[in-house]
Every structure is written in structure tokens, then in C-alpha cells.
Symmetry: C2
Subunit: 165 residues, 2 copies
DNA sequence: ATCAATGATGATCTTCCGGTAATCTAATGC
DNA sequence: GCATTAGATTACCGGAAGATCATCATTGAT
């Protein structure tokens, strides 16, 4: 009933690997190896993101994927919306199909406000925010899972996390 | 990734129909007719709630279901926990298996705090709160959907109805 | 003791999501 | 233009959640 799906999580991790618009395209294959997301599944995911205008994918020699706009202009909400859509935001908490703004159930206002708080938070975090902690977080994960080494890694010291509280 | 499942919604609706502890037991059948939740599915749901100590169910003559404690002492969080458990609260937003409090991903703190805000809200609403608006909310819904009066009509097959496809 | 009322339970079906594999199509270099 | 490199697309598999059906087990009235 509030599906920030696993695939949206994948989307976040994939996007963390991408360059700013204009940079060298990153191969889906590279993202797959780096993140551990299955190649073929990632390919579809990327395609979805491309259709939504968040990334640009090119085929053939020197193809790959780049951000369609600056990382600072892509929020978690954008990713959630691109992958999971927005339909779930309108679903009644207790599943009454007749429930709507005009015809609210007992919990309508309560739930609407709850979702809103979550969305505000999702909107407050951008890809650029993530990049700042990218290495620290992902490196730890990679070590504990024996995944492939990235080409270059510059580990920034532990910073205060993105928390907006 | 934040599954307040459809079944939890059912649980809320079902619980709205119950009496205070000590009151006359309500039949699963009655709840099913009143709410539109499939009888057999509801039966399992009720059983789960009983195992969690939220309701008491008795079989046989004059059996039925009653609240195990006052409505004012049962929160939405209780229901969510009884049905969906708590595992999902600990899952990493972006699906990193190595992510934990000791080994946080970039979004760990952010997500933890987000979930917390939701939980605080779920904890702030009790069944008793719902009862106060029960009639207004549910009646409106029933009217606009032609659902059975507590005294059982039959439901039209083609109309969109909660949980029927 | 018996029987009917009523919840409990297990098998099965469907749908959706995550995931795999094979193949198609577009872009580039030669 | 042809081969190679990439992403795009299609078909299919498996598991979990929702839902249904049939059957079992318990309680209380008589």
C-alpha cells in the first residue's frame, strides 16, 4: 500500500553510477557488475528511466547511459514515480474503492497527510546528495559481498548523512 | 518496501465491526457481509488477529469474535504489526543486504527517520478514534456502492468491489 | 449423546513482481 | 556494407500475496 518497490531501490543504486549529462556514457553492463543488479533486469529498468526522461541511453559503439539532467535536479520522488507510478498514492488505506477526496473514509485525511510527509521527504533528497556518501556506503557493501572492483574509487571520509529530520 | 498491505486494510475494516470486550460476539459471516471481505479469507485474518491477542474468537453456538481489549487500546500500528509483521521496517530502502545500523547505506538514516514518522502516526490512531467517524465514513461508502445492509443483500457481480476482480 | 452452529485449516488458483534467457535492433568503426 | 558493440524486446519461470473451496474441529443447545 505504499510500495517503494525493490526495483525503485535498484533505480537509485543504478543512478548513483551515472555521470552528469555530457559525461562519458556508462554501460548497462558496468552498472550491473558494480551494483549486482541482474543485467537483463537492469536493462529494462534503464529503459523505463529513459522513457521518463531521467536518463539518455544510446546503443552501439560507445553507447551507454548518462543522466538526462544534473544530479541535483533528480529527486528520490522522481525515481519512485518513474518506476512505481503514482497510482498507489491515491489508494485508500483500508481499501475502500469508493473513497476519495469528495467521499472520504474515516482515515482518508490521516493517510493523505501521512503520505504527504513521506513524499516531501523523498522530494528533499537528490542524486547529488547521494553522491556525497556514495563511496563510503557502497564500498562497505561491496566488501561484505565480494563484488567486482570499481575502476576508480575515491573514498571520502564519513560525512553526516542525508538525514532531513 | 513499506507494505501496509491490503490485508491490513481488511483488518482495520473488520475490527471496526467488533464490540468492546465483553460485548456480544460478532460472527465472521456478519463482518464479511458488512465489509465485503471474502468470508474464508477473513476467517484466516481473524485467526491471525486472535493469535496476536487483539481479538478473541469462539466457535460453536453463540460463537463469534470480540475485541480482546478496549478499542482505545488498539492502534493502527498494532494491526499493521499483527498482519504484516515488522521485518519490512528493517529493510534497506535501496536493497543493500549489508546495510544495517552498524553498517549504514547512504540513505539509512534518512529512511529510518521517514519510517519512524509514519509509525508514530500509525501509533496515534486507535480503533476508538475510528468508531467516532465510523458511521459517517462507512455509510457514505456503502451508499455510493450499494453494498449490502447489515441484513445481507446480494452484491452485483460486475460492479467494482473491494478485492473482487 | 447428538446435532447444528461456527471458526480453523489445507489445497488450489490467480495475479503480480522479480528475475532469466534468447533474440531483435540500432549505432559505430572499418 | 558488414561486423561489432551496445541497448531493446519478447517469452517465460518462480515465488509471494490475495482469494476461493472444501473439509475438519470445537462449542453449546437439546
Amino acid at each position: 500500500m505504499l510500495p517503494l518497490s525493490q526495483t525503485t531501490g535498484y533505480a537509485v543504486r543504478a543512478m548513483q553510477c551515472l555521470q552528469e549529462p555530457g559525461g562519458h556514457p556508462v554501460l548497462v553492463e558496468e552498472i550491473a557488475e558494480y551494483t549486482g543488479i541482474p543485467h537483463s533486469y537492469l536493462s529494462k529498468l534503464v529503459h523505463k528511466l529513459a522513457k521518463k526522461g531521467l536518463v539518455v541511453a544510446r546503443r552501439g559503439h560507445h553507447g551507454g547511459v548518462v543522466l538526462a539532467r544534473p544530479a541535483a535536479e533528480i529527486t528520490l520522488e522522481d525515481l519512485s514515480e518513474a518506476i512505481d507510478g503514482v497510482a498507489w498514492r491515491k489508494r485508500c488505506l483500508i481499501g475502500l474503492l469508493g473513497c476519495s477526496d469528495a467521499n472520504p473514509c474515516v482515515l482518508h485525511e490521516f493517510w493523505h497527510e501521512t503520505l504527504n510527509q513521506v513524499l516531501v521527504r523523498l522530494r528533499s533528497v537528490t542524486l547529488a546528495d547521494l553522491a556525497q556518501n556514495h563511496d563510503a556506503g557502497v564500498e562497505r557493501f561491496r566488501e561484505s559481498h565480494g563484488l567486482a572492483e570499481p575502476a576508480a574509487h575515491e573514498l571520502e571520509p564519513e560525512r553526516e548523512l542525508v538525514g532531513h529530520s
